[in-house]
Amino acid sequence: ALSSGINAEYGTINTNYFIQTNLRMSLLPSLCTVKGLCILDNDGKRIISKYYDTTDDTFTTVKDQKVFEGKLFKATEKSASEIVSINNYTAVFRSNVDLFFYVFGDSRENELMLLAVLNSLYDAISMILRKNVEKRAIFDHMDSILLICDEVVDGGILLESDPNSVVNRVHVKNEDIPLSEQSVSQVLQTAKEQLKWSLLR
């Protein structure tokens, strides 16, 4: 009878634990704060999107992701101020000319943390683009933009919150070579590539 009593006790402990983990008001301690980030154009079309939580059913397929991006865009296109809640997610955003930048996480996530991620991303991009944050410029510097996204968030974890460090790490050496030092063919190639990028849009 004694052993069975103990076992019964185990049973209740287990169920209690189960209930606690399911109904938690706050999140378990984890560095993974960001569910995803995206940059959309002024038609709501994806330019760059990264989704970090592979266990989240909302973002399993590309189609699901684009549905979510549609909701994000609809909720923010006419709004001027930086935060919105969608389903069980909180998204912070910034827009400029023809671009929308979003960072989103669980609705129980610290909103200021998400904002820190967004600011790091946006300010780093703004520095690289010399404050000229618009769609054309993004496509002209796609390589640097991709590298910035990779430097700011790694697998949902905020990797670097200081935009200056992000820019230093991305190390855009080629941009700094004065035109005169590049060979003629290189300049031509650059022009060609930029033309191609504008067609890809």
């Binding site: 709004s79 930086e82 935060i83 919105v84 610290n110 943390m113 796609m142 790694d154 790490r169 190639q189």
Partner: protein
Amino acid sequence: KAVVSTQSTGTSVLQETRTFNETPLNTRKCIHVLAKIVYMINQGEQLSTTEAREAFFATTRLFQSKDVTLRRMVHLVIKELPTAPDDAIIATSSLTKDMTGKEDGYRATAIRSLCKITDMTMLTAIERYLKQALVDRNPAVSSAALVSTLHLGKDNSPAEMVKRWTNEINEALNSDNVMVQYHALGLMYSVKKHDRLAVSKLLAKYTKGGVRSPYASCFLIRIACKVIEENEQDNNGPLIDFLESCLRHKSEIVIYEAARALCNLPNLSGKDIAPAISVLQLFLSSPKPTLRFAAVKTLNKVATNYPSSVTMCNLDLEHLISDTNRSIATLAITTLLKTGNEGSIDRLMKQIQSFMSEIPDEFKIVVVRAIQGLCFKFPKKHDVMMNLLSTMLRDEGGYQYKEAIVNTIIAVIEANPASQDTGLYHLCEFIEDCEHGVLATKILHLLGREGPKTPTPSKFIRYIYNRVILENPTVRAAAVTSLAKFGAVCADLKPSILVLLRRCLFDTHDEVRDRATFYLSVLESENPTFINQYLLNTLQSSIVGLQSLLVHYIDNPTKEAFNLNSVPITTAPAEVTPSSKTDDMIVDAPRKPAVPTKTRQEEFAEKLSSIPEFARLGPVFKSSTKPIELSESETEYYVQCNVHTFARHLVLQFDVTNTLNDQQLENVMVEVDAESYHVLGHLACPVLTFNDPGTCYTLLQLPEDPAEVPNTLTCTLKFLVKDCDPATGEADPVGYDDEYVLEDLEIGLNSLFQKVFKTNFAAAWDELDADSQADETYTLTTVKSLEGAVEQLISFFGMQPCERTERTTEGKSSHILLLAGQYKDGVECLIKTKIVYDGAVNMKVSARSADPSLNELLVSSI
């Protein structure tokens, strides 16, 4: 705009990777092609396995270039391309060289790429380098190593090797770089989290200071919260002190995290969270929208449990109603609705009115739900709130929004009879100009049910008849039915209703004409039975049950007519309960499917009919509404019983759970013993393993005399025990018989009666023969209030309370309870109980039905 088709982009970009073979290498061009590959993958284009493979191999060629940006792009592409582990080995050595090399520009990215593509078997080769990188003087490298190590762990537990790295992680924890410290704390926690002592040591050390990174501080707060929640009540003091000290941190992100943590902690008093509330109050007037949002969202949550603590923020919250961010404004409104008192409602409603036109429908629905909650809380203020709701009904808005308002008005009418007149009137106004047919028919149905009982039913006729003239066929048909109900109840209106119905005979749609013809002949027959059965208290059969029985009837031709009484009755519509969902900020909640779902009753019926032994018993008449516990859930064997009544039998369904992990039970059954019952058989549950519920049945013959049905049954659980290994679940080959005494099972009169909903009880009552009515007077000594008596009577008879008589009016000393039910052979019974309370409960029970002996049974059974 140039749209490039999926196929052409994918292939053409991959063709461009030929550039990677050129000598000399055009660095710039290569970078662009790599960027295009990543962009293409990011757009969601699917590469075939071969394509991905080719792209991967082409990319690895680029390791020959020394260009830093190119190398970083190569690292990125390797990470993004879906690569088979076998192929990944090709890149491993180059990446390892990059991560240990001298060029700082790409060491960090090499680590992250390498850890991404590597699997556990290859890990041992790089383990040494990774461990060194944790404490690299370059913060980018250190962070990359810490974060990648964290990602390497599966299912939230870190890789085995990491447990030997605590010295290195500790060193990183003391780094000057804020990000490195943050990442190191995350990794340290993931190593220690299953060791409670180690976690408290970690907390004790770092809550005293030494954390420079605000992100790390936030993380510490989260760990502290988890520990507090898991701890027993005592010894949480230091941690709560730590949380409070964080309220004075210099960084907003930490202050907010701490305030939120304090508000979310269970078992804190209003006084404990006061400092956190003050901090949040300051944030409410911050120029940063995110900070305002965060603060109001937290306060909204707190207001659910501690409305009075949030009251001090009311002034600031009122300012936020005009916030340009509508999410913030909506949260502010709903918080105010929670903290508001009766006196502030008028002002609040005015503010809401001006604010409603500016927000999208999703937010409006949230506000409507909050108002509904308020209507239940302050019934006296229904006038102001009804007015606001009706204004909202008239304003622009989509179907879901309008539906939410209509449902709210209906719920308020049901809960508060004083609001009925104004509520119905507002709904009438609404259907005058309503584009949603579903809502119009719903309202017309409600009018037909409630309108005739109001003091001046005639004023509704105009609104209803207007629908007959102006609407589409569906709404017209609903309006005709509604009109007929007025004719059935209100004698003085009947002549006019007949005239109106006759006009409907010329309608263009046959459903409308058919209904008008039918109702005309019912009304003109002047036969109270017809009027009652076809107009006022119509058929209540369960649709699913009717369908399955009709299919059965067609499949098995007989000469007998189909017996409608054999169809199970739908259980009465669920009560509208005050919604408590107002605290959720649902912007886009998934909608419930509108298909009729099976009730509990129908599910049981389906389950029972699939058991061949019970097939000959006929359809189930009734299943008990909730399971009866025969042992407590903490005991060795947890047993619940459901009682199913058939025409001449009872089936007892025992759901048994074995809570012992060292036992396996076999051949489990419940033996039942009672004088008046004859046990016909058992259906045992063959095997019952740990924590996996099983079901066994006992079949009883119902006594001929219904008076013998109420009885107490003694129950004993009998089974064969086999000891088993808790770890593997493997059981011993030999077992022994054992039994376990369960609590007694009470079978009451209520298992013989099914609930029937009568919308017009008086009509049904008058229709039944008054001469055979049986009466009896009782004095209850055990019950001490009217509500108690009402509750007990309802559960005793198992019948449906009608016309909302299950609710007693506060302060009154007498009450009339109306119950309607159906006996198992199909006879309908009505019970009218007058209850008077004067220190003791006195009541007079009267029963009517077509069967006088049943009446006697009912009144004498108490």
